[in-house]
Symmetry: C2
Subunit: 200 residues, 2 copies
Amino acid sequence: MARMVAERSDAIASLAEVFREHGYEGASLAVIGKATGLGKGSLYHFFPNGKEEMVRAVLAEIEQWFEDSVYSPLRDGDNANAAITTMLDETAKYFRSGRRVCLVGALAVANTRDLFAQAIRGYFLAWVDALQAALVRQGRDAKQARLLSEDAVLAIQGAIVLSRALDDPAVFQRAIDQLHARLAFNGKTLNDNASGNGLL
Amino acid sequence: MARMVAERSDAIASLAEVFREHGYEGASLAVIGKATGLGKGSLYHFFPNGKEEMVRAVLAEIEQWFEDSVYSPLRDGDNANAAITTMLDETAKYFRSGRRVCLVGALAVANTRDLFAQAIRGYFLAWVDALQAALVRQGRDAKQARLLSEDAVLAIQGAIVLSRALDDPAVFQRAIDQLHARLAFNGKTLNDNASGNGLL
DNA sequence: GCGCTACTGTACCGATCAGTAAAGACTTTA
DNA sequence: TAAAGTCTTTACTGATCGGTACAGTAGCGC
């Protein structure tokens, strides 16, 4: 009875969802087995180091997805504004308007942070760096771009928390909309831009 | 061997710290026992419904602290600006510049959300409501005040996540500083205020 | 001193935990 | 067709999980 799943990578999407829903400690091997359709034997065949290795594999896949879909266009796209817009829209889709948790953010808050500290740090650092690069290409000052990109990434994480807490996806969407306004460079002065959205 | 802790409330501070550090699932009775200095017998004497009741007690205490120290001044203080400044400073102190996790936010992200949904929602709703009230007393439009207060609470939560992820308390402090600027009403127009802080 | 209540320590329960071991089933290669 | 390699199933281990039961002890009112 071989080659039913056949590919280790086939399990990673299920694993990601399980860890998102149950957290690291909450995702028991029984739960993982049910979600992936794999028995313990298979799981330990693909991931000899158990849950830790599973999470690392998931984190690597997440990192790769963001690298391709978000970071890379931000850093290297020929249109900074378009890349920023794409980032916000792709992010909103990815997190399902706040209904889906950010696994990396959740790990950062939990006590498992130390175990995955490097991956967690890398994920957020790459995000802030890439967004900063886009903002600089918009013509902004490097330092201001840094603060603004930190602020944007932070707002997305906070939006997930708050929209889940209030059980209201609209909260998440409003945060994304506001980031659209704050991060857009419309060719006028920054002050014009600021007064334009009314919210400061 | 009676009356060593004597008061149920004496344990709550320790319990809060344990749940913050280990999460709901990660905080085993063994860990809880060590942190509080209470054996299982005592714990189940004070909290007959086990961990769930412990968390509810902690959440009630947290809610009370925020009500007294933050929400109440925001709603009823005679100086809205001062109340907002106090809120930000007290919040920064409370979360130890991002080194300390927000238990309510952590529960909102974890799969335990449903179990404590009402308390979680109440905590954040009260926060947003109170801040909105203060912003309205500054003379702002109600709808704009709502959006701005949502944005502020969300930023605080995101700042905790990001500063922990990057292991950099300065990230948290910068977010608080920026909120100071965004939420302050300096007597000039909002646009003046906006252009003043250089960001956005 | 006596009994009542409040609290504590310990032993124990069944369930579940992460992880191991090994034999079986299928595919691939030769 | 047969050996080798890949994957799955099953049974198992020892530890730990949340929770219960209960005997005991300390302090208080009397």
